[in-house]
Amino acid sequence: MKNIYKHGISMVLLVPVGWIILFASTVFGLTADEIMERADRIRNPGESYYVLAQITSIRPDAEERVEQYEVFVKGRDKTAVRTIYPKMQRGRNLLMRGYDLWFYLPKIRKPVRISLQQRLLGQVSNGDIVRADFSGDYKASILRTEVIDGLEYYVLDLLARNRRVTYNRIWYWVNKNNHRPLKAEFYTLSDKLLKTCHFTEYKFIAGDYRPVKMVIEDNLLIGHKSILEYLKIERRNFPDKIFNKNYLDKL
């Protein structure tokens, strides 16, 4: 009887606490980390998914370069990338587990461990492809709100949780109503603006409206930019074996 009484008290206490939390989050809004997470879920469907990505690199002094990759994501820390195009680069597959990276070199037939520094190539680094989520890697805070084209945006300040991520700091513009990202600015350790990314062309894919085109401008090299396009996004489950470095040659 005493136990039932105690249990009843707990229930009585819990119900209002739940309502208070719900009320508070509605009235006072989401935390910066929650906003960042919601924006992440708009950029990709989360947990386990497949992306067919195309990267077009534009440089004033060179011909346009097109690359295509298939990206297999499982959870926050397992990503495998298969090179589709150019045809000659096929087989050069990439695996990321946590912050560890392997690159399969078909010429020598082996997966080679590489450092995070070695992954930075072009305006779109391998880091951008293998690690699309900001949450987990960055701690967010709300800098301010801004009105752009009549719409209100949070400006989030994302600070790297450790030194192993691609960028030290990111400023992230997220729509206040629907949490769709508008743009992001990427900064170096010395707070120098490295790249600016614009999230454009929202389409209804895999259960939500998602940006399928990201235009990434290099702020250090004038005229250098990359366009990252998601040609396909699907929720899919993958067996663990494809995230094993010894499977990279069969990916």
């Binding site: 045809k87 000659m88 020598i108 461990r113 450092s115 520094q117 663990d240 094993n244 470095k245 010894n246």
Partner: protein, 432 residues
């Protein structure tokens, strides 16, 4: 061309012909290459003008069943242009056709089977890998040819079972192949059995090869783990030594004060255990490999030894560091050491050999120019090899390299042996 080469040629032609016959679901990649070498030391002049074609075809026959066929064919025009090599070398190297990696991949849940002619690569090290012990190598161009052309694929079954952070791999090789060495008089002919006395008549017999049978097949097992950011692999190989063991007998010759030294080389069983590891400690990657060979054969100069061979434990280890520096330069540094255990003075090979191996290169950043320099140096006797190389990418699929290779140091050293084979080279490669 012998019958084996003819069969390989036909298989190679088939590899090229299939894309024309088949449908759309086929990927064909490869390259056309010309490699021209000009020797700078010894007898100077052009020593190679080799045209090669390599093609690899891959298709999915059905879900979880893939087919790969690859072959290469080369023709060295130098044999028609200059008369500098004996006819045996011409027969051996003018036309070369080989069926390369040709296998089926079968995926069964967490098990993957690869059946056919294949390369099994277990090393972690970038430059010199001592853990790549399963495939023999074609050393007719010493270490100057690309690794993909040098490694000889083997008819085998490779079974891998995957767990989340672990994989177990078993290999069964049912047709043995051995290192392919340059014949007598070739550009990179290795030193023959050393005859230390002018009073000896040397008779060298052809190496005795094991017959292909179940009893003579090779087995290998590997356990790979990924723990706390470390890649660690343990392996065991029960196969054949890829080099023959030069057993010798000594008998009195009919001429007075002379002896007949008969060399009877034999390919023998070899048992090796090993470990490899790799770990990233930003911004560097460290890699290591160690192998222990049970009863490895070594040549002894002791006349009293009945067959001229002693067998000892043999330890090999490699420790390497990859270090990117500045923005566009990568450096790979490796320390290689081998140690003969229970060493005795009669053994020809030194008890310990230590090499420093260094590679400096611009990264694959899509730039037009790549610079690369390899350097290997033996600490004990200055045996060395240097290969600087400049590559210009005319387009995504056409590149040309200009480089040089220098060998020096002790005349009986791994590189010093080829002290008069320094060269400049030009390679042009068109990929498709």
């Amino acid at each position: 061309m012998n019958a084996k080469a003819l069969i390989s040629s036909l298989a190679t032609i088939l590899v090229y012909a299939l894309p024309c016959l088949a449908g759309q679901n086929i990927s064909v990649t490869g390259y056309l290459r010309n490699g021209t070498d000009y020797r700078l030391s010894g007898a100077t002049g052009f020593v190679k003008s080799k045209y090669s074609i390599f093609s690899r075809l891959n298709t999915e026959i059905m879900p979880s069943l893939d087919l790969t066929l690859a072959g290469n064919f080369s023709y060295d025009a130098i044999f028609g242009l200059r008369d500098i090599y004996p006819s045996e070398v011409k027969d051996d190297q003018e036309f070369v056709a080989r069926l390369q990696d040709s296998y089926v991949d079968i995926g069964l849940s967490n098990l993957n089977l690869r059946i056919g002619k294949q390369q099994i690569v277990w090393g972690e090290a970038i430059l010199v890998s001592i853990a790549d012990i399963i495939n023999p190598q074609d050393l007719r161009e010493f270490i100057l040819s690309e690794l993909e052309e040098r490694r000889i694929p083997l008819w085998s079954i490779d079974a891998k079972y995957f767990f989340s952070n672990l994989s177990i791999e078993g290999v069964w090789v049912w047709i043995n192949e051995f290192n392919k060495l340059g014949v007598e008089g070739s550009e990179f002919e290795f030193q023959a059995f050393e005859n230390s006395s002018s009073s000896a008549i040397l008779v060298s017999n052809a190496p005795k090869k094991p017959t292909n049978s179940i009893e003579n097949s090779e087995l290998a097992l590997r356990l790979s783990c990924y723990v706390g950011g470390w890649d660690v692999n343990f392996f065991h190989f029960y196969g054949f030594n890829h080099n023959s063991t030069p057993y010798r007998t000594i008998a009195n010759a009919p001429e007075p004060e002379k002896v007949i030294v008969t060399v009877n080389p034999e390919y023998e069983r070899s048992e090796v255990i090993g470990i490899t590891f790799a770990k990233t400690i930003e911004p560097v990657v460290i890699r290591g490999e160690a192998t222990y060979t049970f009863q490895a054969p070594f040549v002894t100069s002791k006349i009293s030894d009945a067959d001229g061979i002693v067998k000892n434990g043999y330890l090999n280890c490699v420790l390497g560091v990859d270090c990117p520096f500045f923005k566009n330069v990568e450096a790979y540094l490796q320390l290689f050491q081998d140690i003969i255990l229970n060493y005795n003075d009669g053994i020809d090979q030194d008890k310990t050999r230590t090499y420093l191996i260094f590679l400096l290169q611009s990264p694959m950043s899509g730039r037009k120019i790549d610079l690369k320099c390899e350097f290997a140096f033996r600490v004990e006797n200055n045996d060395y090899f240097v290969r600087p190389q400049f590559t210009y990418h005319f387009s995504d699929n056409f590149k040309s390299s200009l480089g040089a290779a220098f060998f020096g140091g002790s005349r009986d050293g791994m590189f010093g042996e080829f002290w008069d084979r320094d060269r400049v080279f030009v390679n042009m490669t068109l990929s498709f």
